[in-house]
Symmetry: C2
Subunit: 202 residues, 2 copies
């Protein structure tokens, strides 16, 4: 099988992971501006130059952190009970999205702020994996079941609209409304239900 890793490979992976953990923690604590190669190096007892054996540059580290954050976001959304009626499921998916942003504001911010290297297509727009794929599969479910009547629009643009709604809630919460405490959850739930009911009740 030859699937066992060499000690060298094991060490290398461990160091890579240590770098990513340090980077993630630094970001989670003080945002992107608090992240520096020298701080990462200090945390893992390396010289700054040593990091370049594992990543080409700082951007690659941030990109890797973002991939992990994206996975975490998906896990948040996968916790939603897939046996719920489509309408409720859609609402819960949205609330899970917002919850992730609330609990990981700095990660969320960096995940959706890195304007460089944006994909030319929404992640997994044709698969059921990835957070957007999960959303779209649910919307497709609603259409297939005859619950949603979306006229000329198919699952993709409808999913985009749902995404935009919850993305706005998440973003405002951690930026413009950061210092404005309020019971957001009930309003968010009501707003999403209103929209989803609009999808259902043609």
């Amino acid at each position: 099988m030859m699937s066992e890793l060499s000690p060298k490979e094991r060490r290398s992976r461990r160091t890579r992971q240590a770098i990513l953990i340090a980077a993630r923690d630094l970001i989670a604590q003080g945002g992107y501006e608090a992240l520096s190669m020298r701080k990462i190096a200090r945390r893992i007892d390396y010289s700054p130059a040593g990091l370049y054996e594992y990543f080409d540059n700082k951007d690659q580290i941030v990109a890797a952190v973002c991939r992990q954050a994206d996975g975490l976001l998906e896990r948040y959304m996968r916790r939603v009970d897939p046996n719920l009626p489509v309408q409720e499921r859609l609402v819960e998916l949205g609330l899970a999205y917002v919850r992730f942003a609330e609990k990981n504001p700095e990660l969320f911010l960096i995940l959706f702020t890195r304007t460089d290297q944006a994909p030319s297509e929404p992640s997994s727009s044709r698969e059921t994996s990835g957070s957007f794929g999960l959303l779209m599969a649910t919307v497709q479910d609603g259409i297939d079941q005859g619950v949603f009547h979306t006229g000329q629009f198919d699952a993709f643009p409808v999913s985009y609209a749902c995404w935009a709604f919850v993305h706005g809630m998440a973003m405002l919460r951690i930026t413009a409304l950061k210092n404005f405490e309020a019971p957001y959850q009930p309003v968010n739930r009501w707003a999403l239900e209103t929209f989803v009911n609009g999808l259902a009740g043609d």
Copy 2:
């Protein structure tokens, strides 16, 4: 009246404005990372240290640019015909918001990304001035006219929900979907109409 400004004051204001224009242009061109005190200084033929006669630090310059951008956003929204029926007016306000973001992506991004110095209250939540105030006045209009039935929620949370919707559209457009060309406007219009109809149709 004594409203005339001294030559000194006139010069000072002109220089201040030149700094802000240079800063705005640099941001509009290459985003926040392309903005530096030295580049601003070079553009207006000053030494970097000279800028500190007009602004305490870089953040103050960015804050001033953001204030101007906010004014521009409001102008976008004020172009919406106030004589339209509330439902259409609300939709058009949202589309104007998205249009501003599309035309000024970097300014929009910096305007809603500066997580520091966020106000403790949404701008002008009780006035009809400011972009949010304009939105809320419209929502209040719909409630007063008996067009919107928002149950337990008053104009403020409803306006927040509208804001979140269009903010998500705007944000996704210039970040995650930056490289994904598609006819967004029809979908955005349809999605907003669906939501607004949900507000209207009890």
